[in-house]
Amino acid sequence: MEPPLDVDDVVSRVRRNWMKDGLAEIMLGLLFVLMGGGSLAKLALPRWLSLDLLTSALTVAGALGLVWGFKKAKERITFPRCGYVALPQPTRMSRAAMFAMFAAFGVIFTLLMTQFNRMTVPVSALVFALILTAPGLRVKGLRMIWEGVLTLLFGAFLFWFTDLDGSRGLMALTGMIGAAMVIIGAVRLRNFLKSNPLAQEPEA
């Protein structure tokens, strides 16, 4: 007996299509730029100002603002064209796993910048590439895998062709990844808007 359709493909298609409008890339890219910008502000400001806490708070506020903006953009751009869909809320287990993962990344980055300054850029590039590639492999999203490869290339470029290391290297890396993702996202969004004109009759 033949299966009537590939159920796994249908399930992963939902996740793939969630990102086809490029908004996720734009948001993630802006988040990376924000992270780089936050670090730059910390480095640029005079030490006696001691605005570390303020810049961190502004970065967090910016990140929350981006998430809010992403939701609003989905409501205004994607849902009227392709229909409304809500992904399931992450379970308590997956939230805990994500928190543990971010805590581990925090430890790795701190360790790199304090102990292994020269290795900050390549290891960070590897970590960011894994963050991008792992979900790409899960939902068979080729674009995310390419973005992971691009991240590795940025890391390799900064490591071999510049003398940026430590926090400056990390800042440059996040800035480059962020800018690239915003550009990729913007192109995707333009194509999405072209191929999905606003539906005239949204309901049956």
Partner: protein, 109 residues
Amino acid sequence: MSELDRIIHEPARLTIIALLSSVKEADFLYLLRETKLTKGNLSTHLMRLEEAGYVEIEKSFRGKIPLTLVRLSSEGRAAFLSYRKSMKDILTPSKAPSKVRRIPIQLPT
């Protein structure tokens, strides 16, 4: 062989159920675009699934535009999981040990 759920086994309904299994809820337009069915066909299949208790349909308005939200019920989720298991059992070759008897033979020297 375990019995397959005929309501889910139909390809269009299976697509709808599979889509709904991976989301919290979706509206009619989303399902229409993803399944590539006609409006009438999709309505009929959704009605059939609702009658079976597999989906919950909520009709409301967003401004002046009618909005039909569809989500998988707990019965629908259980039925879908059971269907997938049955399908896997059918398609996976049995791992039971072969009952072919091995007879040692002696080749002439």
